[in-house]
């Protein structure tokens, strides 16, 4: 007789029985480094949903099951927000503590950082910045803190701690989770477009990335933690998906959850839930249905709220560099803001070019064989160059915070050392003043810091430790902005009688805010590197807590994007995707060449003909030979070799698993058994071995185009439907096949890039 073996819910005649019968483990899953079939996943989810809705009318229990199924998405978002927020709190507090560990310890409790150590000390007004409980290393070891020897000892301890942290980070990454290095956003973009990278969002990657991110940030390297936080949040999303069947078994639904998790990640990094959702929509996600928008917002809010309740920075702030001033700005200041935009665009293009060149060198030459040594050398150089300059010695977030800060009466930092004329101050409103010597010192120190950061970030981003680039770009922009702001302020002060200033900036008025210039500069540089648009502006204005500064931010972001796009088309993440050869079909660019499907399809003119399987005339042995001799990921099924009329498409993995399983479990299946892909198999003489029915693993509705279809339409179909392969017919007969890799290679060829750089399947 023949055995019916349902492989589980394929399109076609699936009845109620299909759902209750357990599919073969492995059928319907994907191999590593392969693309998922979006259409199949979405239709499986719809089938599942239909089953549950139909069954919910039968009993109360089934009704409860359907309600809980609908509710499971929201519950999952809640868990993701909680976990992402807690991990972000852990990262913030630990990084803050370990950064200060390079300079000294707190005697009142070693777990306090400098700020918290000095929280309780009762100091007088004049030395409110010093406290006795915090001891620098030289004070601890030698007993005194001043003098040349103490300075050298501090320097030495700083470098030693930095090296220890970074070495520990790279050893942990190399030993436990090699996928935890880098930023993570290019790979997450690729995963969200349908690629499978097993282990990239796993438990070990999560743990190692969290731990080593803190170490890398604390070692003083010029990197940030925002990009890796997105990776951490997506790992949380992926791990928590395993609690719910709906998301564990369906790759398309899982990617919706990952989009929301990415939004939660940015939300805790910047304290900007709306900006996080927009970042996920604009930069990271590929398909973003409206349902995901609401859920992402929920996840981002829960994450931000969790972080707020952990309160890592005190005062319920979520980010270290939250801005609290609301000074007005004048229309004429748009000119320097646009200048900052141009600077941001130029720097962004320069950074992308040089970083890609350096990463390519790391990828292809011997430099890549010594990752640990590379991290050691870069950290040593960074630490040795950073210590002498006070602005590079402090952590980058603190630097940005200080640069964004508007000088008040009580600020005693060098940057606020203006020449004060106390008779003219009314209340706490400070007018524009002449710069004191402290400001001039700060200016040239900041200029040196700018040069150092510009060059060292090129070598730091992409190393084998978790590294982000939001904070270094913002730092570069903030330094440039503050320098320009102070310059404009002094210009307005000394030449208040010039025509451009006399109208709005009279003597004694407070018209220029250098902190605002720093903010605009930070936005411009970040926009130039990542080419973010709306999400950047929204993140920045959520950071400032007000809508006053939207126009300067937008002006700078737009200018910087235009300037950077004029020089090079891609942002940093797209450039890294192209460098690594991920199969990412860019959704934003138009395909404008006049090629047709027959120019791209395989087999080409001189190749052997297409490898097909017939619907009911091949034996198990024939199919196994085909599968072992070729490496294609799927085979079209035709009626017969003569007619080449298309029946459907079968995946290699499903074929292998089904045949192996049939050989072991079903009786009568031998090498000469016929494989039948149809419902009604042809009758055979009674002495022949039993037929293997594989109807259930066949996809009966593969997408086809004719050979004269323009490639523009084919590329559009691939993008919009998320196809993996598309069959090409001519006059109704099967002619060839176009896979996603062929499309990517064709696009690369048309753009005069190397088509062999597309590595994965």
């Amino acid at each position: 007789g023949f055995s019916t073996y349902n492989g589980g819910g394929m399109n076609g005649k699936s009845t109620m029985m299909d759902f209750l019968e357990e599919p073969l483990p492995g059928v319907g899953t994907y191999e590593d480094f392969n693309t998922i079939d979006w259409v199949r996943e979405k239709s499986r989810d719809r089938d599942r949903h239909r089953e549950i809705t139909n069954r919910s009318k039968e009993s109360t229990w089934a009704l409860l099951h359907s309600v809980s199924d609908a509710f499971s998405g929201w519950l999952l978002m809640l868990f993701i927000g909680l976990l992402a927020g807690s991990l972000a709190g852990l990262i913030d507090i630990s990084a803050h503590w370990m950064t200060d560990l390079k300079e000294g310890v707190c005697l009142a409790g070693f777990w306090f950082n400098h700020e918290h150590c000095c929280w309780k000390s009762n100091t007088t007004f004049t030395d409110r910045d010093k406290c006795p409980e915090w001891k620098s290393w030289s004070q601890l070891i030698l007993g005194y803190g001043e003098g040349a020897f103490a300075y050298i000892l501090n320097y030495f301890m700083y470098v030693v701690w930095a090296l220890m942290f970074s070495l520990l980070a790279v050893l942990l990454v190399k030993g436990f989770a090699p996928y935890a290095c880098g930023s993570g956003i290019p790979e997450i973009k690729t995963i969200l477009s349908g690629f499978i990278i097993r282990g990239y969002l796993g438990k070990w990657t999560l743990v190692i990335k969290t731990i080593t991110l803190v170490l890398a940030v604390s070692s003083g390297l010029s990197l940030g933690k925002e990009g890796p936080l997105v990776h951490v949040a997506c790992c949380c999303g992926n791990i928590l998906c395993h609690l719910f069947t709906k998301y564990r078994k369906n790759e398309a639904k899982r990617r919706e959850v990952l989009s929301a998790a990415a939004a939660a990640g940015v939300s805790v990094a910047f304290g900007a839930p709306i900006g996080g959702v927009l970042f996920s929509l604009e930069e990271v996600s590929y398909y973003f249905p409206l349902k995901t928008l609401w859920r992402s917002f929920f996840a981002a809010l829960v994450a931000a709220f969790t972080l707020r309740s952990i309160n890592p920075f005190g005062n319920s702030r979520l980010v270290l560099f939250y801005v609290e001033f609301h000074m007005p700005w004048h229309l004429l200041e748009l000119v320097p803001f646009i200048l900052l935009g141009i600077f941001g665009g130029l720097w962004g293009a320069f950074f992308i070019r040089s970083n890609i060149a350096w990463c390519r060198r790391r990828k292809t030459t011997r430099l890549g064989k010594y990752p640990v040594l590379e991290v050691f050398v870069v950290t040593a150089i960074t630490a040795i160059l950073a210590f002498p300059n006070e602005y590079t010695r402090m952590s980058t977030s603190e630097l940005i915070s200080e640069l964004f800060n508007d000088c008040g009466i009580l600020d005693s930092s060098k940057l606020c050392e203006y020449v004060n004329d106390f008779n003219s101050t009314k209340g706490d409103d400070l007018p524009d003043r002449a710069a004191g010597p402290g400001v001039y010192t700060a200016m040239w120190q900041l200029a040196l810091a700018l040069i150092m950061k510009v060059f060292i970030t090129i070598f730091t981003f992409g190393m084998k430790v978790p590294s982000g680039l939001f904070i270094p770009s913002m730092a570069v922009g903030a330094i440039a902005g503050r320098l320009l702001g102070v310059a404009v302020e002094q210009l307005a002060f000394y030449h208040h009688d010039w025509a451009i200033f006399s109208g709005w900036c009279s003597q004694g008025a407070d018209c220029i805010t250098p902190g605002l210039y720093a903010m605009v500069g930070a936005a411009a540089c970040l926009g130039g590197v990542t080419r973010m648009t709306v999400s950047l502006v929204v993140i920045m204005f959520e950071l400032t807590g007000g809508l006053e500064y939207i126009v300067p931010l937008m002006a700078a972001a737009m200018t910087s994007k235009w300037v950077a796009d004029a020089i090079g088309r891609e942002g940093i993440y797209d450039a890294h995707i192209r460098l690594n050869g991920y199969p990412f079909l860019e959704a934003k660019e138009e395909f404008s060449h006049k090629t047709r499907a027959m120019d791209v399809m395989r087999p080409r003119k001189n190749d052997p003909p297409l490898t097909v399987i017939t619907q009911d005339s091949m034996t198990v042995e024939d199919v196994e030979t085909i599968v072992t001799k070729t490496t294609y990921s799927g085979y079209p099924v035709v009626v017969s070799r003569a007619s080449q009329r298309l029946v459907g498409f079968v995946l290699r993995r499903d074929l292998i698993i089904s045949i192996e399983n049939a050989r072991k479990k079903q009786d009568g299946i031998v090498s000469t058994s016929i494989i039948c892909f149809t419902d009604y198999c042809p009758p055979l003489p009674p002495s022949s071995p039993s037929v293997l029915k594989l109807r259930s693993i066949l996809d009966l509705s593969p997408f086809t185009v004719t050979d004269e279809t323009p490639m523009e339409i084919v590329v559009d179909i691939f993008r919009k439907l998320g196809l993996r392969q598309c069959l090409v017919t001519h006059n109704g007969k099967l002619l060839g096949i176009i896979t996603k890799k062929d499309v990517l290679k064709h696009i690369a060829q048309m753009a005069n890039q190397d088509p062999e750089s597309i590595l994965f399947n």
């Binding site: 209750l20 357990e22 483990p25 492995g26 191999e31 099951h65 976990l83 807690s86 852990l90 507090i93 630990s94 409790g109 777990w111 918290h116 929280w119 009762n122 007088t124 007004f125 004049t126 520990l168 050893l171 942990l172 190399k174 030993g175 436990f176 989770a177 090699p178 996928y179 290095c181 790979e187 097993r198 282990g199 438990k203 743990v207 731990i211 791990i239 609690l243 069947t245 564990r248 969790t306 309740s309 952990i310 309160n311 005190g314 005062n315 319920s316 990828k363 890549g368 008040g408 009466i409 009580l410 706490d428 992409g462 460098l579 690594n580 993995r653 292998i656 698993i657 192996e660 590595l759």
Partner: protein, 198 residues
């Protein structure tokens, strides 16, 4: 309940233990902030007043609520006479600050213990493990990528119920071997072949 339940449980035994562990850890992380923020030494309103005329600068701390955190409630005793109070208070900067020392302590200790545990495990894997284990003949042969991809992918399919390892120790060892193989593969992809994350 429904027929998928037994296989679901069988497949996801390890996979659902660790999320539960993570959630428990999460709960531990969230408990301290809930209880600890009530410690009175961790809440304060801090007012910094600069020098004014012939009065020197001073810092005032007081434990008041956020609504009352302004110069009039915190600066006591007021160093200036009544008509000057407003001018003096305009110069003072008052901030409400809150922190939780217990949260900080707990988080730092958790972090350091995880780092310590990872270091110990790494030391164990590098030094002790090769001495204990005999070299496993099944992991020695080279993994030629193309030919063994299918067999490897089939091996990644979860084993059917009959072939399950028997004792807990064997299961743990099996899981550890699989994990080591996975890390080795990842290391080859990232560090040696530079196929990803370069």
């Amino acid at each position: 309940l429904f027929p998928q339940a037994p296989t679901m449980f069988a497949q996801c035994s390890w996979n659902s233990v660790s999320p539960v562990v993570l959630l428990v850890l999460l709960g531990c992380l969230l408990c301290p902030p809930a209880q600890a923020s009530k410690s009175s030494e961790d809440i304060r309103c801090k007012c910094i007043c600069p020098p004014y005329r012939n009065i020197s600068g001073h810092i005032y701390n007081k434990n008041v609520s956020q609504k009352d955190c302004n110069c009039l409630h915190v600066v006591e005793p007021m160093p200036v006479p009544g008509n000057d109070v407003e001018a003096y208070c305009l110069l003072c900067e008052c901030k409400y600050e809150e922190r939780s020392t217990t949260t900080i302590k707990v988080i730092i200790i958790i972090y350091l213990s995880v780092v310590g545990a990872l270091l110990l495990y790494m030391a164990f894997l590098v030094l002790v493990d090769p001495l204990i284990r005999k070299p496993d003949p099944y992991t020695q042969p080279l993994h030629n990528e193309e030919e063994s991809e299918d067999t490897r992918s089939l091996a990644a399919v979860p084993t059917p119920a009959g072939a399950r390892a028997n004792t807990v120790l064997e299961r743990v060892e099996g899981a550890q071997q699989r994990w080591k193989r996975q890390v080795q593969e990842q290391r080859k992809t990232v560090f040696d072949r530079h196929k990803m994350l370069s």
